[in-house]
């Protein structure tokens, strides 16, 4: 074994290792050092440096995101506290708000209100119709739901004007979609056709 290790380079066949670079040359040494350094840096970069730096960046981002969330939640808590205090002072106004926009369609109540308004305006109500209420929840969350209603009434111009004014200004919030006035043949009375929308908070 000792003899073999001493003479190993003598035993090797001549010409078989010509392809290997001559490491005694200074240029070869520098080149090999450079290549091995680049390979080592690349491997370390991929297997050690990259995961470490990525984790550091991720953790830093998590810290900043958590601070952001904390700040936003604090702002929301303050806003909710302020709203809670204001809501307490608004307790007396709540019936007015729910009368304007009830939680249910409250169709009979609307019809009765329109009837009362027509009576107060000295107007004769010929027909009153309410249309379908959409119960299915839409894909886009709406703040309010609505249903359409229509009626026709007869009366003098001033009475009809008062009637329309009262309907559009009554405590229940309604919007006017179509409003038309036609003169009745053979009389001084006018016929009002009204189509509108009433709102409720589902």
């Amino acid at each position: 074994m000792k003899i073999l290790s001493k003479n190993i380079f003598k035993i090797l066949p001549v010409g078989k290792f010509d392809l290997l670079p001559d490491f005694k040359e200074e240029r070869t040494q520098k080149f090999t050092t450079l290549v091995l350094t680049l390979v080592a840096l690349s491997l370390f970069g991929l297997l050690a440096i990259n995961p470490t730096l990525s984790t550091i960046a991720k953790l830093k981002k998590q810290v900043s995101d958590n601070n952001f969330v904390d700040q936003k939640l604090q702002q929301k808590i303050n806003a909710l506290t302020a709203l809670s205090q204001k809501y307490t002072s608004l307790q007396n106004d709540l019936p007015i708000i729910t009368a304007a926009i009830p939680k249910n369609p409250e169709i009979p109540l609307l019809v009765a209100q329109i009837q009362a308004t027509s009576k107060n305006s000295n107007v004769s109500l010929n027909s009153l119709q309410t249309f379908q209420v959409e119960i299915e929840k839409p894909k886009i969350q709406k703040k309010f739901s609505s249903f359409s209603f229509a009626f026709s009434a007869d009366g003098s111009y001033n009475d009809l004007l008062k009637f329309v004014s009262l309907v559009s200004n009554m405590e229940r919030v309604v919007s006017v979609d179509i409003l038309s006035l036609t003169k009745r043949t053979g009389s001084n009375l006018l016929e009002l056709t009204f189509k509108g929308k009433a709102f409720f908070n589902q």
């Binding site: 991929l46 969330v69 608004l90 009576k119 405590e171």
Partner: protein
């Protein structure tokens, strides 16, 4: 393999690794870690009620509903 071939392999590989590391760090420092549900929960809300609208509602006409069917007036006929 000649020296030039080795350089052509090692240097682009090294540059690619550097770009890879850079992009990975950039991606991690830019991507939000806030979950979708929490993002909705932190949406700010207005801390005031619309008091002008409430005042307008107060000024609206109060109508006492009439649940009985109205008789058609003779003037309408």
């Amino acid at each position: 393999m000649k020296r030039k071939d080795i350089i052509l392999l090692v240097v682009p590989f090294f540059i690619l690794v550097l770009i890879w590391i850079g992009l990975s760090i950039y991606h991690n420092s830019v991507t939000s870690t806030i979950p979708e549900v929490l993002n909705i929960q932190i949406t700010p809300i207005n801390p005031t009620f619309d008091e002008k609208t409430i005042l307008n509602l107060k000024n609206r006409e109060k109508v006492t509903p009439v649940f009985e069917a109205q008789q058609s007036s003779p003037s309408a006929e």
